[in-house]
C-alpha cells in the first residue's frame, strides 16, 4: 500500500535523527548498572559477571550524573562491595543496615532520575515504602522506642522532597502533574494511616508503643491534610482554566487522567477477580464498593468533559484513582496482616 510505504519511508528517515547521544546512552547504562548492583539476581547466574569491577566503577564515576551528585555516596556504594548494600535492601527500621538502605541505596537511586516529575514520583514511592516498613514492624511487635520517630523523620523528608518537586512543577504551569503527585501522597497517607490504626489495636502491644503509633498516625493525618490542600489548590487552578477560555491543555490532561483512572479500575478488577488475593467477606465488600464508587466518579467526570468542564472532570478522575489506590492498600494489608479495616471511614469517598 502506497500510504504505508510513504509512512515507513518518512519514519525511517526521521529515525536517523531521533536517537540517544552516545554520552546519554552511556550515562543511562551506568545508572542501570548501579541499579543492577543494588538489586542482584536471586539465583546464581549460569555465567559469572564478565564486566570487571574497575571498568564498571570507571564507567559509573565518569558519568555526568555522578559529577552533579555526591561522589562520596556513590563511592560508598561502589567500595562497600555489593554485599553490604545488597543485604541492606531488605532491612527494616531498627535493623543495623537500615541506614545503609535509606542513606545509601535509595540516595544513589534518587540521583539517576532526570526530571522533577520522576524525582517526585520516586520520593512518593519511598514514602510508601516507609509506611509499609512501619506496618511490618508494628505487626511483628518489633518496634522499639525510637522506631516511630525515626520512620516519621524519613517519611517527612520524602514528602517534603516530593512536595518541593511538585511545587517546582506547579510553577511551570503544570498543575495537572503536581495535582497528581499530591493526590498520590494523599491517598497513600490516608490508606496506610488506617492500616496502622488497625494494627495498633493488635493484642499484646505495650501501651507505650500503642501511644507512639497513635502519635505517628496522628502525624500522618496532618500530612494528609497538607497534601489534600495542595491537591485542591492545583485542581482549582485547573478548573479556573475552564472559565478562562484556556481549555486546550486541560482537556488533554483530563482525557489522559480518564484513561489512567479507567486503566487503574480495570487493573484492580483483575487483581480482585483473578484470585491473586482470596478475599474475605469484608474485603470483598470493600473492593466492590471501591469499584462502584470509582466508576461513579469516572462517569461524572465524563459528563463534565462533554460539557467542557475539563478541570473539574480531572478532579473527579483523581478521586476515582484515590479510591482504588486506597482500597488496594487496605485489601493487601488485610490479607497480609490478617486484620480488618473498618469500612465506615471509606464511605467518605462515596459520591453524593
Amino acid at each position: 500500500m502506497e500510504v504505508e510505504k510513504k509512512l515507513q519511508t518518512i519514519i525511517n528517515e526521521a529515525n536517523r535523527h531521533v536517537a540517544l547521544r552516545p554520552q546519554e546512552k552511556e550515562t543511562i547504562r551506568a545508572n542501570v548498572m548501579v541499579f543492577m548492583k543494588v538489586n542482584p539476581l536471586s539465583f546464581t547466574p549460569a555465567k559469572p559477571v564478565q564486566v570487571s569491577f574497575l571498568s564498571w566503577a570507571h564507567m559509573v564515576l565518569r558519568a555526568p550524573i555522578v559529577r552533579h551528585g555526591s561522589l562520596a555516596v556513590l563511592a560508598m556504594v561502589v567500595f562497600s562491595a555489593g554485599t553490604l548494600s545488597v543485604a541492606a535492601q531488605y532491612a527494616l527500621p531498627g535493623d543495623s543496615l537500615y541506614q545503609v538502605k535509606v542513606g545509601v541505596n535509595e540516595k544513589v537511586l534518587s540521583f539517576i532520575t532526570f526530571s522533577d516529575e520522576r524525582r517526585a514520583e520516586y520520593e512518593v514511592h519511598l514514602a510508601q515504602k516507609r509506611l509499609e516498613e512501619m506496618e511490618i514492624v508494628v505487626a511483628a511487635n518489633s518496634e522499639n522506642d525510637d522506631t516511630a520517630s525515626q520512620v516519621k523523620k524519613l517519611l517527612d523528608g520524602h514528602i517534603a522532597s516530593a512536595t518541593a518537586h511538585a511545587e517546582r512543577i506547579s510553577q511551570e504551569k503544570q498543575s495537572e502533574v503536581s495535582a497528581k503527585i499530591h493526590s498520590e501522597i494523599e491517598a497513600s497517607l490516608q490508606a496506610h494511616g488506617k492500616v496502622l490504626g488497625a494494627l495498633t489495636e493488635g493484642k499484646g502491644k505495650p501501651e507505650k508503643q500503642k501511644q507512639e503509633i497513635k502519635k505517628f498516625v496522628s502525624g500522618l493525618k496532618a500530612s494528609t491534610g497538607q497534601a489534600t490542600r495542595a491537591r485542591e489548590k492545583d485542581e482549582q487552578e485547573l478548573s479556573s482554566y475552564d472559565s478562562d477560555g484556556r481549555p486546550d491543555g486541560v482537556k488533554e490532561s483530563a482525557e489522559n487522567r480518564l484513561e489512567a483512572a479507567s486503566h487503574q479500575i480495570e487493573s484492580f478488577i483483575k487483581f480482585v477477580e483473578e484470585g491473586n488475593v482470596a478475599l474475605d467477606a469484608d474485603a470483598a465488600i470493600e473492593a466492590q464498593l471501591a469499584i462502584e464508587n470509582a466508576g461513579l466518579f469516572v462517569e461524572q467526570g465524563k459528563t463534565k468533559i462533554a460539557t467542557g468542564g475539563y478541570g473539574s472532570a480531572f478532579a473527579d478522575f483523581q478521586q476515582a484513582m484515590r479510591i482504588i489506590q486506597e482500597a488496594r492498600i487496605h485489601i493487601a494489608a488485610e490479607k497480609h496482616f490478617n486484620i480488618t479495616i473498618p469500612l465506615k471511614g471509606n464511605v467518605d469517598n462515596i459520591i453524593n
Binding site: K6, R16, I28, E176, V177, R257, A260
Partner: protein, 171 residues
C-alpha cells in the same frame, strides 16, 4: 530464554536502548521524559528478573514495560504539539550536521504521529517505528491480535488523510 545474567542484560541494554528510547520519544515528544521512561523500563525489567521471574521474550517485555509506564504516567504534561516543540527549539536529533531537509522530514513524521489518537499512535509507533509484528504488538499492549490489526488499519486510514492534507497544503 535461559536465565539472564548481568552481562547478558547489559548486552541487551546496548542492543535495545536506542529503540526503546525512540519509542518513548515518539509517545511523549519530550527528550528528558523519554530518557526517564527508557531507563525505568530497563530497571523495572531487571527488578522483575531479580525477583526471580522468568522472561521469554526480553525485547517484547521491555516494550511492554515502557508502554505501561507511559500509560500509567498518563501524560499529564500533554505530549507536545509541533508548535510547542518548535518553541522549545525542537531538537530530536543527535547530529549537529542535520540539514534543513532532515529537519523537515522529522517534522513531517511528528506531524503525522501527533495527529493520531493515542490508541492508534501506540500501535502505529510499535509497527512502523519499532518494527514489531502484530503478534508482538498484541503482547505489548495486552490485546488480541485481531484488535491490533483493526487499530493498525484505522490508524493507517487516518495517516492517509493526514498525508493527503499535507500534500494539498504544499501545492
Amino acid at each position: 530464554m535461559a536465565e539472564l545474567n548481568e552481562q547478558q542484560f547489559t548486552e541487551a541494554y546496548d542492543k535495545y536502548a536506542d529503540a526503546i528510547f525512540r519509542h518513548c520519544y515518539y509517545r511523549v515528544f519530550d527528550r528528558e521524559i523519554a530518557k526517564d521512561f527508557m531507563q525505568e523500563a530497563f530497571c523495572k525489567t531487571w527488578k522483575y528478573l531479580s525477583d526471580g521471574h522468568h522472561i521469554d521474550n526480553l525485547r517484547a517485555f521491555l516494550y511492554r514495560t515502557a508502554n505501561n509506564l507511559i500509560i500509567d504516567a498518563s501524560r499529564k504534561k500533554k505530549h507536545m504539539s509541533l508548535d510547542g516543540l518548535m518553541e522549545k527549539g525542537f531538537v530530536p536529533h543527535s547530529d549537529p550536521r542535520q540539514t534543513a531537509n532532515d529537519h523537515a522530514t522529522a517534522k513531517e513524521v511528528m506531524a503525522v504521529i501527533d495527529s493520531l489518537d493515542e490508541k492508534y499512535r501506540q500501535v502505529m509507533i510499535l509497527k512502523y517505528v519499532d518494527d514489531l509484528s502484530p503478534k508482538e504488538i498484541s503482547e505489548v499492549v495486552g490485546e488480541k491480535e485481531n484488535n491490533v490489526y483493526i487499530r493498525l488499519h484505522r490508524g493507517l486510514a487516518k495517516v492517509k488523510e493526514i498525508i493527503a492534507k499535507q500534500e494539498n497544503q504544499k501545492k
